[in-house]
């Protein structure tokens, strides 16, 4: 019998006791707050060009320096958080939800459903992930919505696979048979009992995929298919900084560090959640 549901209160207690989860939440909440408060806390207009001070190193006036157009990098990083986090979260959420649901269905139902889903997944997976994103954005055109769609599509097959694989392994465990014997409906078994049990692997992968999503945005920007200028995004700032990496390394380093901070936060949360939802409890 699944312990995940029964132990919810203790899971919460465990979670709040875990220092990792608290730190992770603090980091992510702080970044999200910064992004939301961008209009009030960004020291400059992120798109205001200044011909007199291009590529200025970090100083009291410009903590993160300025870029090629003399724009304040700190302001751009703060504003960029909005777009990058939205793209990352939305694309990952869409990909994870779609992929996990399809994967569980495939793994649980088996037969033709499984074969069909597996075949479609194989087709999607046969495209190198980045190439698929590149093709999609080239076809759709680079707008924020299309970027989210393209990145989500590249994430779906990975989650189908992981969810299907875990479901397959889980299906043979005793508790599924027990549930069946108790006459539970398929839906209830799949999403009430299988889902919580494979959630840890999905969560771990999802928190990492978020990094991939944000990074994919920067990669597409590198190849020239990012969010159109002058809109600031972390990936876009890193990419613009790349041209001047030898003269002004801070351009690429600061937004990269911002990505790193969010990644650490998210992964600490992911681990904390994993521990908290682990049906077998902490070792």
């Amino acid at each position: 019998m699944s312990a995940a549901l029964a132990s919810a209160p203790s899971a919460w207690r465990r979670a709040t006791r875990s220092p990792g989860l608290v730190v992770g939440l603090a980091v992510v909440v702080a970044v999200v707050a910064l992004a939301l408060a961008a209009p009030w806390i960004a020291p400059y207009d992120p798109n205001e060009q200044d011909v007199l001070s291009p590529l200025a190193p970090p100083s009291a006036a410009h903590w993160f320096g300025t870029d090629f157009f003399g724009r304040d990098v700190l302001s751009r990083v703060i504003w960029g958080a909005r777009i990058s986090l939205s793209v990352g979260f939305l694309a990952t959420a869409a990909g994870v939800v779609a992929g996990t649901v399809i994967g569980i269905v495939a793994g649980y139902c088996g037969g033709w459903t499984d074969r069909l889903i597996t075949a479609a997944t194989d087709v999607l997976l046969s495209f190198p992930q980045l190439i698929m994103g590149l093709l999609l954005v080239a076809v759709l055109g680079p707008s924020i919505g299309n970027l989210i769609l393209a990145i989500a599509v590249t994430a779906v097959p990975a989650f189908i696979r992981i969810a299907r694989g875990s479901t397959l392994a889980m299906r043979q465990r005793d508790f599924v048979d027990a549930c069946r014997a108790l006459g539970f409906s398929d839906l209830r078994i799949m999403f009430g009992h299988l889902l919580p049990n494979i959630m840890d692997e999905v969560v771990v992968l999802a928190s990492l995929w978020l990094a991939t999503a944000i990074r994919t945005e920067s990669t597409l920007a590198f190849i020239g298919l990012g969010v159109p200028p002058p809109t600031a995004t972390w990936g876009g700032i890193v990419r613009e900084g790349f041209d001047n990496l030898l003269d002004a390394p801070w351009l690429s380093i600061f937004p990269s560090l911002a990505i790193l901070a969010v990644m650490i936060g998210l992964n600490l949360i992911g681990d904390g959640l994993r521990d908290a939802t682990d049906p077998r409890g902490a070792p």
Binding site: P19, D122, L125, F127, L130, V204, A211, V238, M263
Partner: protein, 313 residues
Amino acid sequence: MIQFILKRLLLAVPTLVAVLTVVFVLVRVVPGDPTIVILGDQASEAARADLRARLGLDRPILVQYLAFMGEVATGDIGRSLTTNRPVLEDVAHVLPYTIELTLAALVIGVGIGVPLGVVAARRRDGLADWLARIVSLAGVSFPAFVSGILLLIVFAVELRWFPVISTPRTGSLLDRLGALVLPALNLGLLMVAYVTRVTRSGMLKALSEDYVRTARAKGMPGRIVVWRHALRNVLVPVVTVVGLYLGVLIGNAVLTEIVFNRPGLGKLIVTALTQRDYSLLQGLMVVSAFAIVIANVLTDITYGFVDPRVSAS
């Protein structure tokens, strides 16, 4: 086993056909055509129309599709529209570079990721755990073009251990290895994070399983419990991630190939796409899709070995 492999390869045929169809349609939906690349930007509209006719690009799309599929069926994946070189010749040129880079990156990714994950799990919430987790994240957070340049600045320009242009000049093994280290490290770092996380997570789960507890309770030394029993449980998710990552690696290798200036399948695909070299792009996608199919078959076979519960059939 052989039956299983043959079956999987046979099943891959519809997959490849589907991939080809998708690529064929997508590249023709993307605006633009190869005429500007071939004729230059001073060519008149009339000259471009003439060239389109000569290349057969003015035929109805279905006719083009059937003609193309017919050729593929006979094993001929054609010639590049822009260079007129046989596509297979270009593939044969870049494939060894892609294979060695991918394998080296996998070795680095698993070689660093699994031990890091095990250490992190054993020293849970300790300093080693935190360090392992943060270090492994750096690889996945820094875009590959930034980390690549940083590696080049340190190891190629300052220390001069390796060349900046990571294309082997001679065929010697030493030369090839020297040109491989930095790109493989850059690409492998991307995987370290995933492998570390999956290993750590699987390890924690395994360490809490009854049989591991039992083994411990019986007084089996911790190291043996970890490496012989618990690690076995970690292999399934690790193999899954590695299998998934082959596709990601081939794609993401593009950036590594560009920064380190190495030839490779990914870079050639991007070039073909940017030049709208339809025939080259289609040919390359067949090859990369086939490579991924093979990788998937290998992944599934490996499942059978590492986890008897998932049967290969």
